[in-house]
């Protein structure tokens, strides 16, 4: 049985089914809808909600990369919650919006309680039913993740909720992806890493995970000479990789 799986070609469905033993999800953008804050942003700043939300997210991610790249020993690391606030402040300033403390607090609080995408709970419950261990590997700091997981009612469905916080680096640093293989005690290729962020799926692919890019918006692939192992349009596409 084992030998048959090893001999199956790399694109064989049989081989793919046999070797995947766990699922690791990105959180923000994948399980939790980061753009759900756009609704509140639009209430607070009519006509700017979408732009504020998008720029906020872009700057937040940019800042994670800058603090990681500039301080290889983690000396410039600041928790995701602080970088999220920094991104919001920059985005508001860039758009010429005056962000008073109450509005900032409301937006940050909204970010803490992001909506989950509607199909996600069913997918996690079905994975559990099929005996597939699942976890989160996220840039979020432990407190943010704890609140988000609890709000969405995912607590019982996840075996590991892993934050980058202990390594003081952000995705796509290999030290971050190594937290996932350590938690599951599995080789990266035996774990399906699932992200809606193309750059995260690519970083995880480089690291060695089997990857699924959940491309909800039909975005183009970042043409960096590598592709995620699989792509799909909703979290339901995870289930095709595990026997019912």
């Amino acid at each position: 049985m084992k030998e048959a799986a090893l001999n199956a070609g790399p694109h064989s469905e049989y081989s793919a089914v046999m070797k995947l033993r766990a699922v690791l999800f990105d959180a923000y953008g994948t399980l939790f809808d980061v753009h759900s804050v756009a609704l509140l942003a639009e209430q607070l700043f009519p006509g700017y909600g979408e732009r504020l939300s998008l720029l906020w997210r872009d700057k937040q991610i940019e800042y994670t990369r800058l603090v990681s790249m500039s301080g290889l020993g983690g000396e410039h690391y600041r928790p995701f919650w602080e970088l999220t606030r920094a991104g919001l402040r920059f985005a508001a300033a860039r758009l010429g919006l005056t962000l008073e403390a109450p509005a900032e607090d409301r937006l940050m609080n909204q970010y803490r309680h992001l909506s989950a995408f509607p199909e996600n709970r069913d997918v996690l419950a079905e994975l559990q039913r099929r005996g597939v261990p699942a976890g989160i590997l996220s840039n979020g700091d432990p407190e943010m993740l704890a609140v988000a997981v609890k709000s969405a009612g995912f607590g019982e469905l996840l075996q590991h909720v892993i934050s980058v916080h202990p390594v003081r680096r952000y995705k796509t640093d290999p030290a971050v992806y190594a937290l996932g293989t350590a938690a599951f005690a599995l080789p990266a290729r035996e774990i399906l890493f699932v992200s809606s962020n193309c750059w995260d799926a690519i970083g995880a692919t480089w690291f060695g995970y089997t990857t699924l890019w959940v491309n909800r918006t039909g975005a183009p692939l970042d043409p960096l000479g590598i592709e995620p192992s699989h792509s799909g349009r909703s979290l339901r596409d995870v289930l095709a990789h595990f026997p019912a």
Copy 2:
């Protein structure tokens, strides 16, 4: 004399003048106007020039960070020219534009021959007259930089044209900033590092350079808990830091 300079406060003009011995410029966005490609982009894709140009630049920079962060040993490094092309292809696809090979080649060729900002030649010539050695430290690969420097007629005015290429990492990795101190054989704080990109000025400040952020567009500061040593609005602001 030396003791007086050492005893002067950190914000003393005297101290600042005494300790700066060289200038290191970022290239793209600082000496060369990356958005000059927007004009050609607008001709090729009417109504999309500005958006294509901005998204192209954003993705180009994003890709430099991803390949640096994901491969700490430089294993995912690809030269800036290739990442520039990848950024253009993504940007066109994202905006739903069909980018045929001739249009792609014209835009890439335009990027190779970017305009210099109008004041730059005078500033470089004046630094030379004042006996201040000047150089470039850029994400660009050596060929791109050679063409850009030659096109702008800066060749005689620069002592060092330094590409990140040998270290196979991009800004803001400390290995990149270390190329500048090595070339001038000076401590970082004695070199004025000049960039129009706030993130680059911040990265260089973290590394230890005395920095000048040439904030041409009046952008907000990225609120990352650190500020460039100085800021200004044009390259002419460099001259205030060196005696005439």
